[in-house]
């Protein structure tokens, strides 16, 4: 997509194309299983039968190359922070990050005395949607994912942006 990225003037055709690409990307955001701690169990419960993530078109992928969304579910520690950064860089381009749970958002219950805990995953990777909760309920995670889908829908990859 490198060649086509923000190269075209904004006109009807390009707008329609943007909408189509936005629709495709938002309808099938494949998430990268990045279960760290308790939020991973809640993510599994969300992907299971009752609150099925597949309804939103989300398929779990285990390799970073084929995933679009990285759900950081759990506490990121110092030892793990470097791995999170490396894995984020392995993902193919239009990639998004959801910080699930208050540990990924700001260190959660471990922010005060956790010497080994990273105070929020946005120190190492850019985060698109923060889902609060410890652990967030499946409905909260699905709401976060819907927010992300809205955000992807509005993105205009083709039109030239005012740099």
């Amino acid at each position: 997509m490198g060649l086509l990225e923000n190269r075209f003037q904004d006109n009807v055709v390009v707008a329609k194309l943007d909408k189509l690409i936005g629709w495709a990307r938002s309808t099938s955001p494949w998430y990268f299983q990045f279960g760290l701690a308790c939020c991973a169990i809640e993510m599994m419960a969300t992907a299971a039968s009752r609150h099925d993530l597949e309804r939103l078109g989300m398929m779990p992928r285990s390799s970073p190359r084929q995933a679009d969304v990285m759900i950081v579910a759990g506490t990121v520690t110092m030892k793990m922070a470097l791995r999170v950064k490396k894995l984020y860089e392995q993902m193919a381009d239009p990639k998004y990050v959801i910080a699930m749970g208050s540990c990924a958002t700001s260190g959660g219950p471990y922010w005060q005395h956790g010497y080994h805990v990273l105070k929020g995953v946005d120190i190492v990777v850019p985060v698109d949607v923060y889902v609060p909760g410890c652990p967030p309920r499946p409905e909260a995670l699905i709401e976060g994912l819907l927010k992300l889908q809205e955000k992807i829908l509005e993105e205009r990859p083709l039109t030239r942006k005012m740099a």
Partner: protein, 373 residues
């Protein structure tokens, strides 16, 4: 890292891997499919639990115990609370004891369900995992009914529980048990006696009893090796001596004693035992009694130390609490059963093939939150 031999390949089953149950890294030396050496590297989820315990008061530690073994949060609360009460020689009303046993056994079923389901996932069967999670959701509804939380409850306080049982709790739990009992046979049909599943798990990762004891393994992993050791029976705490249930022990039905299949099947039998305990507890629970009655205003245990153990779904959870009389504990050490279970992996998984190592790791049922604390 020393000289890498020509034909051997050092492989990192890295901190992010679909079947390491969280953030565990296995540094593996392989030549072809056979694994010649495994060194587990842990610490990727070290959240400084013990440092927190030295800075917060006794009852503020309880939410942190939830987050250690997040698959069996009730059992962790139970372990910690029993230890503090023993230190303070605090007597808890009868009704609270019953509520705690009911919650602990429900949590054991939920934790075993997820452990068995994920083990099926490691071997490659997707569907049992979702069936078991669907039934686990019903237990989470019961927990939500009582204390409002799905996974981490902060339900058991020192001297009582946070919320009394809601109206109709006993009926809903009985309904769940009646629905759940035939489901276990469905899982047995679907996975336990499935020819390929047995082929992949029998005679693999055999853990002899003496090695298990020397590595301090406990819980279903130890019982699968034939050692009849269950704290609820050998060193009964709370009111476990009031219920009669038997302790399932591995008997090498499908292969040698102490293999992956035994560990799987012992957990399946334990789920049946927990249902039995629940039925008795629900029948005998005293109707009246205030759960907040024995809550001490100020928790200041006398100077001294205590080491108390309880039976969690993963094994002996031990709490070593040292108190210097102030409301803040001076040292809390949590002896986690999954920590010892993982230490055995290096010994029993050497010489097997790559897919067996994943199967052995799955059968040990480890939780990284509890290992790294």
């Amino acid at each position: 890292m020393g000289v890498i031999h020509g034909e051997e390949m050092v492989l990192n089953i890295g901190p992010q891997h679909p079947s390491t149950h969280g953030v565990l890294r296995l540094r593996v030396k392989t030549d072809g499919e056979i694994i010649s050496e495994i060194t587990p590297v842990i610490g990727y989820l070290h959240r400084c639990f013990e440092k927190h315990c030295e800075n917060v008061t006794y009852d503020q530690v309880i939410p942190y115990t939830d987050r250690c073994d997040y698959l069996a949060a009730m059992a962790n609360n139970f372990g910690y609370v029993v230890a503090v009460e023993e230190l303070m020689e605090l007597k808890v009303p009868e009704k609270v004891e019953y509520i705690r046993v009911i919650m602990a056994e429900l949590q054991r079923i939920a934790s075993h369900l997820l452990a068995l389901g994920v083990y099926g996932l490691d071997i490659g069967a997707f569907t049992p995992f979702l069936f078991m999670l669907r039934d686990r959701e019903r237990i989470l509804d019961i927990f939500e009914l009582t204390c409002g939380a799905r996974l981490l409850y902060n339900y058991m306080w020192v001297g009582g529980v946070s919320h009394d049982l809601p109206k109709g709790f006993v009926e809903t739990t009985f309904q769940f048990l009646d629905y759940f009992e035939p489901q276990i046979d469905e899982y047995n049909k679907l996975l336990t006696h499935n020819k390929i599943f047995v082929e992949r798990t029998a005679d693999i990762g055999v853990l002899p009893a003496d090695v298990a004891i020397s590595y301090g393994v406990s819980g279903p992993n130890l019982r699968a090796s034939g050692v009849k050791w269950d704290l609820r029976r050998n060193a009964p705490y709370s009111i476990y001596d009031k219920f009669e249930f038997d302790v399932p022990v591995g008997d090498g039905a499908k292969g040698t004693l102490g293999d992956c299949w035994d560990r799987y099947y012992v957990r399946m039998l334990e789920v049946k035992e927990s249902v039995k305990i629940l039925r008795q507890a629900l029948a005998q629970i005293p109707k009246e009694g205030d759960v907040h009655q024995a809550l001490p205003k100020k928790i200041r245990p006398p100077k001294g130390s205590i080491y108390s153990r309880t039976e969690t779904p993963r094994g002996d959870l031990g709490f070593y609490i040292e108190s210097d009389g102030s409301p803040i504990p001076s040292r809390v050490k949590m002896r986690s059963p999954a920590f010892t279970a993982l230490s055995v992996l290096g010994e029993i998984a050497e010489g097997w093939m790559m897919s067996d190592v994943i199967s052995i790791l799955g059968s040990l049922d480890i939780v990284l939150g509890e290992i790294d604390r």
